[in-house]
């Protein structure tokens, strides 16, 4: 029984650490499927986390925090859009710039407003998205395996975590079952085809980056309003980049993206749980090794095991009407 408990424990924390990855990964999916590469996921998450925590601290409401996080994150997404869609700038440069702006400004503003070394004040319970217990979770706790999974693994997460996992089938549906999705995929592959079909490439791509902004806002909120009780500097800790790795790993498809995020989340959970524990024969595994695993895994698996990941064909290329 102890083994099952341990396993459920690890899987539970897998889910918790996967949520921001998953939200950021889906965020990237909207933008990159539309042909706008977004290396600034990290910065948008961080800015969202800060804005959410700051607003929640001031107004004492998690929902106002969430709203603010989304607003700020969408604003940064629009900056990226303005640079790369309207002005046809380099998307990588614009993304990197957003990362720097977010990393710097969150600390400066945090210090200026709250005077706690760049942190936001610790949030009261009503300023956070707490855990939600699913119906009958307590009653079923005693039932072996199924009950344990239900109440120990599925129950007890924040609203944003459930939203993240529901966003997976929703994104799939949007992408493959709606007009917007069809056009979004088309504009990432061949914007000229979209243009000649009488659809505005610019407006379509702006809508895609707005979707990205909303989702990175949610990812940021989860970090500062749910996982933690406030903002800490650099709290995104490279998750935006791991999300990009997961996106490539999943070949820009929503359901594989979820599994990729869960896999990376699982590695993270293992790293947290077993850090500093010495393994027989090998000795102590440095925590940096576990942290590097998602990247190493992406490179190895993409190099040989899951075949070539072909990005959307028009990805990274600003659209210019041909003469």
């Amino acid at each position: 029984m102890e083994f099952v408990d341990t396993l459920i424990n690890i899987l539970n924390s897998t889910i918790r650490v996967s949520v921001p990855l998953l939200l950021a990964c889906l965020a990237g999916l909207y933008s990159e499927r539309a042909g706008i590469f977004d290396i600034g996921l990290e910065g948008k998450m961080l800015a969202g986390a800060f804005a959410g925590a700051a607003a929640a601290a001031v107004y004492g409401s998690a929902w106002i925090g969430l709203g603010m996080a989304v607003l700020v994150s969408v604003a940064l997404a629009l900056v990226h859009g303005f640079a790369s869609i309207t002005h046809r700038g380099n998307q990588i440069v614009s993304g990197v710039a957003i990362n720097f702006i977010a990393a710097g400004s969150t600390i400066i503003l945090g210090q200026a407003w709250f005077n706690q070394g760049g942190r936001t004040p610790s949030l009261p319970p009503e300023g956070r998205f707490g855990s939600n217990t699913l119906p009958f979770a307590e009653e079923l706790r005693g039932v072996p395996v199924i009950g344990q999974i239900y109440s120990g693994l599925l129950s007890g997460h924040s609203l944003l975590a459930y939203a993240a996992f529901l966003a997976v089938p929703f994104t799939w549906w949007v992408l493959f079952r709606t007009r917007f999705g069809l056009r979004l995929r088309a504009v990432g592959e061949n914007p000229a085809a979209v243009d000649t079909a009488g659809i505005s490439v610019t407006w379509l791509r702006y809508r895609a980056v707005i979707c990205t902004g909303i989702l990175t806002g949610l990812a940021g909120s989860y970090m500062s309003l749910s996982q933690n009780a406030g903002f800490v500097k650099d709290m995104s800790a490279g998750r935006g980049f791991i999300a990009l790795a997961a996106l490539i790993f999943a070949k820009w498809r929503p359901v594989p993206a979820m599994f990729a995020c869960l896999l990376f989340g699982f590695l993270d959970a293992m790293a947290i749980r077993y850090q500093g524990i010495a393994l027989p024969m090998i000795g102590k595994i440095p925590v940096q090794f576990m942290q590097a695993l998602p990247y190493v895994l992406t490179v190895i698996l993409l190099a040989g095991f899951i075949g070539k990941a072909i990005p959307p064909r028009a990805g990274g290329v600003p659209y210019v009407k041909e003469r």
């Binding site: 007009r179 999705g181 088309a186 061949n190 085809a193 659809i199």
Partner: protein
């Protein structure tokens, strides 16, 4: 005179200092096929892009069905019943046929019903016009002929009454082109109006009712097709008399310069494309290799010029072997006097982002005359490039211009000038005039004849049978990787056509 479907009145359009369209007046009759011919850069595509709302005219008026209209976006054009099949297909490669057809014309936010509707509509169109295509096939898996059919269906699905086709046969095999013409005739019979933009005069003669000739941004003439000739149209296009058939004297074949024996070559998929091919090319003659594209010609010349490794066989250049089955090095072959004008100038022949002068020495950049110690001697490279520009009439005459900004014909001249001016003993030329306009074709042909007359060996590969017949002194026909026959240039088109199709009966009967 029939009713006008479209009337263009006084259309002007400039891009910067380039006046692409100048006071264009054009009437397109309903239910007819109008051809618009002109050299590359004559303004044909610009004019049609204005009609399709891709650009806006600086001045002028468009009337559709007699009423003045304003076409600001492709949407406006589509609403007026104007459809366009672009030269480079506007298809999403990894979408299915049906997804491509409904893109932009989905009618509602959810796809399910749109796709169902499109399916039945597509079924109707396919029957009405004989345009069969599997709606669930993925575009990138379809041959170009079928991809083009999808483009036509896309336009018809949007209710196009007027169909504009921009250089539709550039990418098609002769058989596919014939099929396209059958479809166009059928569309015309159903009352559709068709505008065909091309620079191939034979197509104009074969299918159009009326033809308008454009030169330097203006319409210089409009003729009834039945009342004009290829020669007249060519002259109108270029502005001077053009020799469609090259004049050349007797060949004086000398010693064997290039000798190919029992060459076998596989392509990158591992399919044997060249099977046991042997032939000689002598100095002072042009040997033409005819054949439908994809019968091993490309792999043959790639193997001889050292780009692709052969499986077996041997090649002698001036009597000494080329290591075709091992590590033949194109650079070393160049030093030994074998020049190669590749079939695909964009991917193999040129670096489009480079300046003209840089491309004009590419591959020869390590020759002492272009070097100053370890550095490139920019002065002498530019002087050299300017001489080539003058000799080959490369336009615009600017050696600092990025190569991508030259027209297809002039890009081809850059490659030809580079290879020919090194004075090679053997010249291998693939598709020398693909995508090149009439005036430049004449020039390129003359240059090839001049090479021959100065005693060089020329191996010519072309899918244009006319070109093979007018240039070659001997014609080899390739089919399914083998040389299935050798003919003199006097052989009829029909005879060569049969050989190209793999019918060997004639051979046996002789």
């Amino acid at each position: 005179m029939a009713e006008a479907a479209i009337e263009l009145v006084g259309i002007n359009k400039s891009f910067g200092t380039v006046h692409a369209n100048r006071d264009i007046n054009l009437v397109i009759e309903r239910g007819s096929i109008l051809g618009i011919v002109g050299e590359n850069g004559a303004g044909k595509s610009t004019l049609m892009s204005i009609l399709y709302g891709f650009y806006q005219a600086d001045s002028g008026e468009i009337k559709v069905g007699g009423k003045p209209v304003s076409i600001k976006t492709p949407n406006d054009a589509i609403a007026l019943g104007i459809g366009m099949v672009h030269q480079h297909f506007m298809l999403v490669q990894n979408f299915s046929v049906i997804e491509n057809i409904i893109l932009g014309a989905e009618h509602e936010a959810l796809l399910k019903r749109s796709i169902a509707n499109a399916r039945s509509e597509l079924d109707r169109l396919e029957h009405e016009y004989g345009l069969e295509v599997d709606p669930d096939a993925i575009i990138e898996e379809l041959p170009v002929g079928l991809q083009q059919r999808v483009e036509i269906l896309k336009a018809l699905y949007r209710g196009a009454e007027i169909l504009i086709l921009d250089e539709p046969t550039g990418v098609l095999t002769p058989a596919e082109a014939d099929h396209l013409f059958r479809i166009l005739r059928q569309l015309k019979e159903q009352g559709k109006t068709i505008v065909l933009i091309t620079h191939k005069l034979r197509e104009i003669m074969a299918i159009t009712d009326t033809v308008s000739v454009m030169r330097q941004g203006t319409v210089v003439a409009t003729r009834k097709t039945s009342e004009t000739t290829v020669e007249e149209l060519a002259e109108l296009m270029v502005g001077r008399r053009v020799l469609l058939r090259v004049e050349k004297g007797e060949a004086n074949p000398a010693a064997v310069k290039l000798s190919v024996s029992n060459l076998t070559v596989k392509d990158s998929r591992g399919v044997t494309m060249v099977k046991d091919v042997s032939f000689d090319v002598r100095g002072g003659e042009i040997v033409g290799i005819a054949g439908v594209a994809g019968n091993g010609q490309s792999e043959l010349i790639e193997a001889i010029s050292g780009i692709r490794r052969a499986v077996s066989g041997s090649v002698l250049l001036d009597g000494s072997p080329i290591d075709v089955t091992g590590h033949a090095d194109p650079g070393e072959l160049r030093d030994r006097g074998l020049a190669h004008v590749p079939e695909d100038r964009h991917h193999v022949g040129l670096v489009l982002a480079f300046e003209e002068s840089e491309n004009s020495i590419l591959g020869y950049h390590d020759k002492p005359q272009y070097l100053k110690g370890p550095f490139l001697d920019i002065e002498s490279i530019r002087t050299d490039a300017k001489a080539k520009i003058a000799k080959f009439d490369i336009r615009p005459p600017n050696d600092r211009l990025r190569t991508a900004n030259f027209s297809g014909g002039n890009q081809q001249k850059i490659v030809l000038a580079r290879e020919m001016e090194q004075d090679p003993g053997v010249l291998i030329v693939g598709q020398p005039t693909r995508g090149v306009d009439v005036g430049a074709i004449e020039f390129i042909h003359k240059q090839l004849i001049a090479m021959r007359d100065s005693g060089k060996a020329v191996l010519l590969v072309s899918v244009e049978l006319d070109e093979i017949r007018s240039l070659s002194d001997r014609i080899l026909v390739m089919f399914d990787g083998r040389v299935v026959g050798e003919r003199s240039p006097d052989a009829t088109e029909g005879e060569l056509g049969l050989l190209m199709a793999g019918v060997e009966k004639l051979e046996a009967a002789e």
